[in-house]
């Protein structure tokens, strides 16, 4: 197991290197530089280019960047002069994370619940109702859902603050908005796999043995139906905790999500690199964790020692 994890970690490093190199090349292929602004006089622009080392040849910039990266130095932001990229990430990530883990819990619990209820009531009213909710969840993007929730529960009813502040309650609407599409995805997936499991021979055996419905669902169905959910949990986790530009804008969250877009339009090179590497590392890590988790949930995989079937 340890050997396997080590191997995967080495591969992760290689992947990170490829991703960062690609990002470096691509972002420098964009026209202009961060100082493309008519309000900056040409002398000032030149001075800034020199200050950030952008006057050097690209290959030299790459070597400098990679050397610093190996030392764990992500550089300083260009848009926010003087502020280090790692500080910015360290400051804003917890705010996205606070929403993300809540969203994930909402999505997983309610998604699975909805899926199981639907499957157990196959082609009955409850099934259709849960399909309906799932379709709404998938088809209404957060850019629509967020403002509706904010307006209805925040402005009209006044139950929740319309932006995130220091209070716990203010995290609710954005977490829910963030969770909705994942919730829907999970519920559909859960419904399908539960139906599949319900048709298996061992369920009939269990029934024949005279187990109660609750016992069957809890002991046999759930454990087998949950595997595909765990597969998508890794990337989902990474996606949710790194924040969403839409949700963060609507609810004025000082999170990481906005940087994924704004740093590119601002051509804040060190920030683009830092954010990309951070996100990539998170995804790689969460996939790795999920792969390891497989082994604990499904003993067959533990014995064979493979990453997945």
């Amino acid at each position: 197991m340890l050997k396997y994890i080590l191997k995967r970690l080495l591969m992760a490093l290689a992947t990170l290197w490829v991703i960062s190199t690609l990002t470096f090349v691509l972002m420098h292929a964009l026209p202009n530089d961060p100082f493309t602004d008519p309000k900056l006089k040409p002398e000032v622009r030149q001075a800034l280019r020199v200050k950030y080392g952008l006057d050097k040849p690209l290959s030299e910039q790459y070597v400098i960047y990679m050397k610093n990266l190996l030392k764990g130095d992500l550089g300083t932001s260009i848009k926010y002069p003087g502020r280090s990229v790692s500080d910015i990430i360290a400051e804003s990530f917890p705010k996205s994370f606070a929403l993300g883990w809540r969203a994930l819990i909402i999505a997983v619990i309610f998604g699975m619940l909805l899926g199981i209820i639907a499957a157990l009531n196959h082609q009955k009213t409850l099934d259709y109702l849960s399909i309906f909710i799932a379709i709404i969840g998938v088809s209404i993007p957060s850019i629509i859902l967020g403002p509706i929730l904010a307006y209805f529960f925040g402005v009209k009813l006044g139950w929740f603050p319309v932006t995130v502040d220091k209070s716990e309650i203010s995290l609710f609407l954005p977490s829910l908005t963030l969770a909705m599409s994942s919730l829907a995805t999970i519920s559909r997936l859960m419904r399908t796999t539960t139906l599949e499991v319900l048709g298996q021979d061992y369920i009939s055996t269990a029934k024949a043995k005279g187990l109660s419905k609750t016992q069957i669902v809890l002991k046999h169905v759930l454990r087998n139906a949950v595997m595909p959910i765990i597969t998508i949990l890794g990337p989902l986790f990474a996606a949710l905790i790194t924040g969403s530009i839409v949700v963060e804008k609507i609810f004025a969250v000082a999170g990481l999500g906005e940087y994924f877009v704004s740093t590119i339009t601002e051509q804040d090179y060190p920030m683009i690199m830092g954010i990309t590497i951070f996100y990539a590392a998170l995804i790689i890590l969460s996939i790795l964790v999920v792969d390891i988790m497989y082994g604990f949930i499904d003993p067959r995989l533990r014995i064979s020692g493979k990453g997945g079937e």
Binding site: L30, P31, N32, T36, D37, P38, K39, L40, K41, P42, E43, V44, A47, L48, K79, Y80, P81, G82, R83, S84, I88, E91, S92, K95, R102, I105, I106, F110, P147, A150, Y151, F152, F153, G154, V155, K156, L157, G158, W159, P161, V162, T163, D165, E168, I169, L171, F172, L176, K249, I250, F251, A252, A254, E258, T265, Q267
Partner: protein, 611 residues
């Protein structure tokens, strides 16, 4: 924590049920709210004696709060709260209020301004502000080639020479051969400067700085200008001219905190920054060491950082903000008295933000667009009046270049030089110009023209409106939407026929607009090159007599319109509204655009509304 979160989730499930079944329930809620309001009113009244708290917002995270380095909003708006220069921005666009200086005198013969520093001006920690704090800050701005350092180097005598002298100049002076080296060799040589050379260089720099004509004389600062600039005192209200204390700067810079964290800010203005949570919020509190603190009413300013306009509107509606800018799309909503009454808002403030939007032309390698009659045909065919009624609601048609209400000599520039320098929507005249133009070009029909525009929905709508106007007189214009960076690159390379452009002022003088079309100006994208125009701008820059000077500027603007060098589209207006309990907020077009210096809050009324 987790428990409460789950409780909330349960609430949500219930909420859905309620929402689906009975929406009429909300009426009951309101009455409950009102009953609570009455009971709470009395016991909260006591607290108002305490603090006056303003809840406002910033539309984005400031890039930096280092006053010397900043160059955009909202940085300048915050800076104006915690910093103060020799003078302060006044209650309107052209007036000034005393700041660290009690006032100034001007000696025309020597073109020298003398600012008298007040004795009671202090930093937030109680130490007095000295002339050296100013000089240190100005030198710092020039040394670091700060974006707005040109407000120093272009005006103070000797500052440009100081700025221009760099290590290369030093080495070239020392060794004539240096100039013959290649760029890389020069760079390497500079890199390899010996210690004693650096010492000599620094000595030379110090010597040049001592020749800069900004000197302390008793409690006065005397500044001699290199050019006549009747608006110079107002420049001293800008961020780049505010003081910085050397020991504080050095201490905080060493820790990499200066200007980027609350602890790296040293206030000398009406408020000081107590908390700065990046991208989230600011908390400013009254500066007890501010010389004019008795006239500052607001004790605490909370600034929430909110990008989204819709979110700001929500916050305004829920009473979490005491005021907000209103985007053009929502203007009709907020013009409705019933809405204002319901939200306890004052009628909207509607004013120019001093931005002008216009069409830039290629003046150097496009024979068709270089034809003045064609440009004038484009100019006269546009119907700006219906444009501001239907598309950009709330903005104003631009029939000149310098925006409305922008200060002139005694009145506004527009009042002095004519509100309209040409006629809007004169299709007949436009057709005449078109025919004349075609004749000169020897064409029977005008080939389609390309116009670069921005890539937003609004840019597209603006473009389409004028495209339709031009189409009416038989000119086909194709819109080319491009992202900002790309458009700018093409503009700067001159790779365009027509392009939509915009400009806002850097300082409160019409020169900031009119110098754009001087042939040497780096932002003269169309490369308009008219010796007559250059002559007017140069004359204005060297004229000491204010009346004669402004006359050159009037003439320059008339020439711009007469030649249709650019074609104005519209002047942008901004709209603000504040709660009825907030008074005295100043909205201006240059510098700090929203100013709470004279503002006051009726906290009893604010608390009453919140409940």
């Amino acid at each position: 924590m987790l428990k409460r979160f789950w409780a909330m989730s349960l609430v949500l499930v219930m909420v859905f049920a309620i929402a689906l079944t009975a929406c009429s329930k909300s009426d009951d809620n309101q009455t409950v709210g009102e009953a609570q309001q009455n009971t709470n009113n009395e016991d909260t009244k006591e607290e108002y004696q305490g603090e006056k708290v303003l809840d406002y917002y910033l539309s984005s995270e400031p890039q930096t709060l280092d006053p010397q380095q900043m160059w955009g909003q909202p940085d300048i708006m915050v800076e104006n709260m915690f910093m103060e220069g020799l003078m302060r921005f006044g209650k309107d666009d052209s007036s000034l209020e005393p700041g660290v200086a009690k006032g100034y005198t001007y000696d025309e013969a020597s073109n020298t301004y003398t600012f008298e520093l007040r004795e009671d001006a202090k930093w937030e920690d109680g130490t007095p502000i000295t002339a050296d704090d100013f000089f240190f800050a100005w030198r710092l701005a020039v040394d670091t080639a700060a974006p707005y350092s040109f407000l120093i180097t272009d005006y103070i005598e000797g500052a440009a020479d100081y700025a221009a002298y760099d290590k290369a100049s030093f080495l070239a002076e020392k060794d004539a051969a240096f100039a013959n080296l290649s760029e890389e060799e020069q760079a390497a040589r500079i890199e390899a400067m010996a210690d004693d050379e650096l010492k000599q260089y620094n000595a030379k720099k110090d010597e040049l700085w001592s020749q800069v004509k900004a000197v302390a004389e008793g409690s006065n600062i005397k500044i001699t200008l290199s050019i006549p600039a009747p608006y110079f005192p107002s420049l001293t209200a800008f961020a780049v001219y505010t003081p910085a204390r050397e020991d504080f700067y050095k201490e905080k810079s060493a820790k990499n905190k200066y200007g980027i964290e609350a602890e790296g800010l040293l206030a000398n203005g009406p408020w000081k920054v107590e908390e700065w949570v990046h991208k989230d919020y600011f908390k400013l509190v009254k500066n007890e060491n501010y010389w004019n603190k008795d006239n500052i009413n607001i004790d605490v300013i909370n600034l929430k950082i909110v990008n989204e306009v819709e979110t700001r509107t929500n916050l305004l509606k829920t009473g979490a903000l005491d005021g907000s800018a209103i985007q053009s799309k929502d203007v009709p909503d907020f013009e409705d008295m019933a809405t204002l009454e319901e939200l306890n808002l004052q009628p909207m403030i509607n004013r120019s933000d001093f931005s002008v939007f216009y069409i830039d032309f290629n003046h150097f390698d496009n024979p068709i667009i270089q034809n003045k009659n064609i440009r004038k045909a484009l100019m006269y065919a546009m119907d700006r009046t219906s444009f501001v009624e239907k598309i950009n609601i709330g903005d104003e048609p631009a029939l000149a270049f310098v925006p409305k209400v922008f200060p002139g000599l005694e009145k506004t520039f527009r009042e002095e030089n004519g509100m309209e320098l040409f006629k809007d929507n004169d299709k007949e005249k436009a057709k005449e110009y078109l025919e004349a133009g075609l004749k000169e070009l020897g064409l029977t029909e005008l080939p389609p023209l390309d116009m670069l525009i921005g890539d937003s929905d609004i840019d597209q709508k603006v473009g389409e409106k004028f495209q339709a106007d031009w189409n009416e007189i038989g000119i086909t214009v194709n819109l080319v939407p491009l992202p900002w960076g790309e458009r700018l690159t093409r503009l700067q390379k001159g790779d365009f026929a027509m392009s939509s452009s915009g400009w806002g002022p850097d300082y409160p003088d019409a020169m900031t607009f009119l110098e754009l079309f001087e042939s040497v100006n780096p932002n003269n994208n169309g490369q308009y090159n008219n010796p007559e125009y250059d002559k007017l701008i140069k004359a204005a820059k060297n004229e000491k007599d204010a009346k004669k000077r402004i006359q050159y500027l009037y003439d320059a603007e008339k020439m711009l319109m007469e030649d249709a060098v650019i074609v104005p589209q519209y002047f942008r207006n901004v709209h603000f509204t504040f709660k009825k309990y907030v008074t005295g907020v100043v909205i201006r077009g240059v510098g700090a655009t929203t100013d709470f210096y004279w503002a006051d809050i009726d906290m009893a009324a604010k608390a009453a509304e919140k409940k």
